[in-house]
Amino acid sequence: MKLEIIRETLKNKSLKKEFAVITNLINGESEIFFPGCDLSEMFSKYSERIEKTFNLNKNGIIENSEIFVQTYKNPIKVIIVGAVDISIYLIDYAKNLNFEIIIIDPRGYFASKERFPDTKIINKWPIEAFNEIETNSKTALVTLTHDPKIDDPALQYALKNKFFYIGALGSKKTHEKRCSRLIEAGFKEIELEKINGPIGIKLGGKSPSEIALSIISQLVSEKYKNKI
């Protein structure tokens, strides 16, 4: 592999492009593959199978060949509503787990640059904030304010847009009340099963960092369950 390919990989990742690096294991020649683009002669006869591996978000050697594919897809987007203490720990854990974090909080004194120096923060109400974020079925939502005015509209948006993971902070009682409000708003009970409430896997911890750990663990587990 040439240094140029390594530099291109770093550049493409920083530009949030999705691509694969393909290597001929016989001679060590590498090339960058972008979906829909032509490859050089050495790789072109494998292009369909390279694209298939890329689409499955997998790495590996193409069957009956010596062509290795390393896929680079964008990280899973995790939208956190509430710039609270737990969010600070969540960001810390997410750094090494290939999650991209976006924080929404209309309360400026919470969502300050001082508290969240390297994070994308949208200082707006969720409905306005979602206009600025591209979301799909590979997006996750974590609501942490337990203020219905802020959390509920975000939960409604995530339910309608079929996010792969939805988690809401709050006790069982808080969650029951939340569910009744969402049913009043027109959601069906079966749809509400998608919400992990109380949020996180059971660790027994109570501190913000322990709650963040239980949330991030549930996110990792749901990522693999949903094959994302």
Binding site: I6, K13, L25, K58, Q70, K95, D118
Partner: protein, 110 residues
């Protein structure tokens, strides 16, 4: 900001090369059974034996470092190394998990 797994490794490889070091890249290209790290796991090795990243969680790294140094010394382009438990050599290195892995090593060229 989230980091993709190889970010640190690639940035460091670039730094080492800028400092006129020879650097090899080792990549897990195939696994069978219960292997410690997945396909695509990577590590870099300098001609001095410095390394960053991981290809097995500690079982075969020492051997991979040795192989990378010898690859660069002998001016070879690349090599695929198979590690498995039935291989006496691998037993010595201690792939205790019982899995088999193929690791591809190559010098990063300017």
């Amino acid at each position: 900001m989230s980091n993709f797994p190889e970010k640190k490794i690639f940035e460091e490889a670039d730094n080492w090369i800028k400092n006129n070091k020879k650097v090899s890249l080792a990549t897990v290209v195939q696994t069978w059974g219960s292997s410690p790290l997945g396909i695509g796991s990577r590590m870099i090795v300098s001609e001095d034996g410095d390394f960053l990243g991981s290809v097995s969680g500690g079982c075969v790294e020492a051997k991979v470092v040795e192989e990378c140094i010898s690859l660069m010394k002998n001016k070879k382009i690349c090599k695929k190394i198979d590690f498995n438990v039935s291989n006496e050599n691998a037993w010595e290195i201690g792939l205790a998990c019982g899995g088999d892995i193929s690791i591809y090593i190559e010098e990063i060229k300017l």
